[in-house]
Symmetry: C2
Subunit: 403 residues, 2 copies
């Protein structure tokens, strides 16, 4: 019999509690022991519910209880989650969390505390919800030189873009629908501005390099500027617009970008629609491996947290993954990255088209039947070259990188 505690009874914390109950038998069979939730830390009381008997408002009730061997932190945010986790690790308890903000901000400190105390700090649920991407990188693709990781890491934005594509509505209409369905929060900035995807990309890049990649250093563009017209062009091309988080690794340096991209149908990320997440890891030996599934949702995320709990209980005596160092990774800006670009420009006739084609050195014209404008797909060039050339294009409206 093993006891755990849950800090933060929000959607995910409650999901973990429910899952451990629902799948008690399967988990006991695999682990050889039953897992019980002994304590739940929350600011609130839940007087109408059975779980109230487990609720405490004092973190010491968890830290000082020697029977509790694993702490699940599903509070979110940096503080007080960080202090609580450090206390738990120092008390010899394993910590499993879904808190991406904390992992991205304080990873090295938490790994160090776990190593010192010979316990585990696991965070599978912090990226990709129920998709086991963290353990794939830390335990499975370990013989690879990873050249690139590309993902749809945010379900809210993917839902909004899919909805705009399928229903032809505006960004605002799609966002409203996502809010109604509970896929977007009241304040959707963290999702729609690409911050959530950026944090997750920082975590993946930190694992891959073994050094700290800070979210703040990642170029991040959101989807708030995507319009119905952009979607019309993407359909005309047979592409789909998705918020892509991508990092590439070369000579020890990281180039990372979160931005809406026009995704070609050949891409493994093209069929990832709605609230699904998908991640492609490109290794020098294995080629491309795709992982996809539910990137959010209480139960999918709880599944990842619970798998961490099981792994921590199985590996009670050693630190399985020692994390990335506090040393910062070398970050390159994207000016040298090469893309093809989709460009919208004002123009009416062959002369306008020819002018644009000559500026970009070729490409192809797309007509989405939008008055007084046209689209263009450029040849591949660096960001720097593109900025220069697009500055020369009179009537330039906007551009979206192609993936």
């Amino acid at each position: 019999m093993k006891y755990i505690a849950i800090m933060g009874l929000g959607t995910i914390g409650r999901g973990v509690y429910d899952l451990l109950k629902e799948n008690r038998r399967e988990i006991a069979e695999r682990l050889g022991e039953e897992i019980f939730v002994k304590r739940i830390l929350d600011l609130r009381d839940f007087p109408e519910e059975e779980i109230q008997r487990l609720v405490t408002h004092d973190v010491a009730d968890i830290i000082e209880d020697p029977e509790i061997s694993v702490v699940v932190e599903t509070m979110g945010g940096v503080e007080p989650a960080f202090s609580f986790e450090i206390k738990a690790l120092n008390a010899g308890k394993h910590v499993c969390t879904s808190n991406k903000e904390l992992v991205e901000n304080k990873g090295p400190e938490l790994f160090a505390a776990a190593r010192e105390n010979k316990v585990n700090f696991f965070f599978e649920a912090s990226v990709g919800g129920g998709i086991p991407i963290i353990r794939a990188l830390t335990g499975s693709l370990t013989a690879e030189r990873v050249g690139r990781v590309s993902g749809i890491l945010n379900g809210t934005t993917n839902y909004i873009l899919s909805s705009m594509t399928n229903e032809g509505g505006t960004y605002e209409e799609a966002l409203n629908k996502a809010m109604q369905l509970g896929y977007a929060e009241r304040n959707p900035a963290a999702d729609v501005e690409g911050f959530d995807a950026g944090r997750k990309l920082a975590i993946l890049a930190s694992i891959i390099t073994g050094r700290r990649v800070c979210f703040g250093e990642i170029s991040t563009e959101g989807i708030t500027g995507i319009t119905r017209e952009d979607i019309r062009y993407s359909k005309e091309l047979g592409y789909s617009i998705k918020l892509i988080a991508e990092a590439s690794f070369e000579d020890g340096a990281v180039t990372a970008l979160v931005a809406p991209r026009m995704v070609r149908p050949e891409s493994a990320l093209h069929p990832i629609n709605g609230v699904q997440n998908g991640i492609v890891v490109c290794g020098n030996m294995v080629g491309k491996v795709l992982f996809s599934g539910e990137g959010a949702g209480a139960y999918a995320t709880a599944s990842a947290v619970s798998a961490d709990v099981i792994e921590a209980l199985r590996r009670c005596t050693e630190t399985v993954y020692s994390g990335w160092s506090s040393e910062k990774a070398d970050i390159r800006d994207v000016s040298g990255s090469r893309y093809r670009y989709f460009v919208r420009a004002v123009g009416y006739n062959q002369e306008d088209y020819d002018n644009a084609l000559s500026i970009f050195g070729g490409g192809s014209i797309i007509n989405a039947h939008i008055q007084a404008e046209f689209g263009l797909v450029t040849p591949e060039m660096t960001e720097e070259e593109f900025h220069k050339k697009s500055g020369e294009l009179i009537g330039f409206i906007k551009s979206i990188r192609i993936k």
Copy 2:
């Protein structure tokens, strides 16, 4: 510095040797030590090559060398691989293998020997090549009640079916092309009859149930009967024909089937083409998770074997995964499984169509412009019902289950 040995210098064994050399720096960084291949067991000599100095024809040179801590077995087949692996495990060495036939046949004995000697027996490369599906099941989706696993587990057959679809050729033409490209063996029976996929499915089902699922008990149909006409119908429907290995789990019993299926475009396996493999795991909490990538090929497979070696060296003092028991899983035959079916039948006119629709209790007619015949998609029914009804259909040509 850690020493390993490779038994069997075929495509995969050589891939492991090359990979450990090519990615030496990355691996040393992650493991904290360098890995060297000290011995290679093979029947042949390689006098022209640098590796000849490592070659031995005597397994004792490996078993009795205390410096060798991990043995990679890439010989294939049950014997002598089994005896060699048991010797290695009993000598306190970890064993990592790509040998699916051995894992399927002798898994419980190998796990028992690993447990007794407190070492690891790993077999990530036995299913899905470079796709980390084994560790996903043993280490990541451990909090799930898995209801179903469905996969395209054989790259050769997927290549043949994709080629028939893209190029419109016959089965024989596509098989010939696969042989020319090295995707199919001289004797392709193990692939095209579904045996390879069946063995891999047996391994996945054994992990999921924790009991032995024998390949011999899995209903297996190959792709040799798939014709150009079948492909024409699948295109007419917007479906694609793929060899699907699928097992479902209910009340402790397993229902498993390897068979060509008409795959609907909504299926996560629909975009898996060519030599790619794809596996969908359906859990009661996580929903559907898709894993896809190169299912074969020297380097992709070597990547999985090498990751196992790294994991074994990291977990030197404990048995990480203790495997499935020798007790046989309860296998249900497919007669109670429910599918929709695609049916081809002789017929010319509305009367024939109406007759077929009335026998199957509805459905839809497909016209692929093939003389004197028509296609039909039935409503969902059990295999048993379907066999009864299709027996009543005069002019029945063939059927393919829909996924």
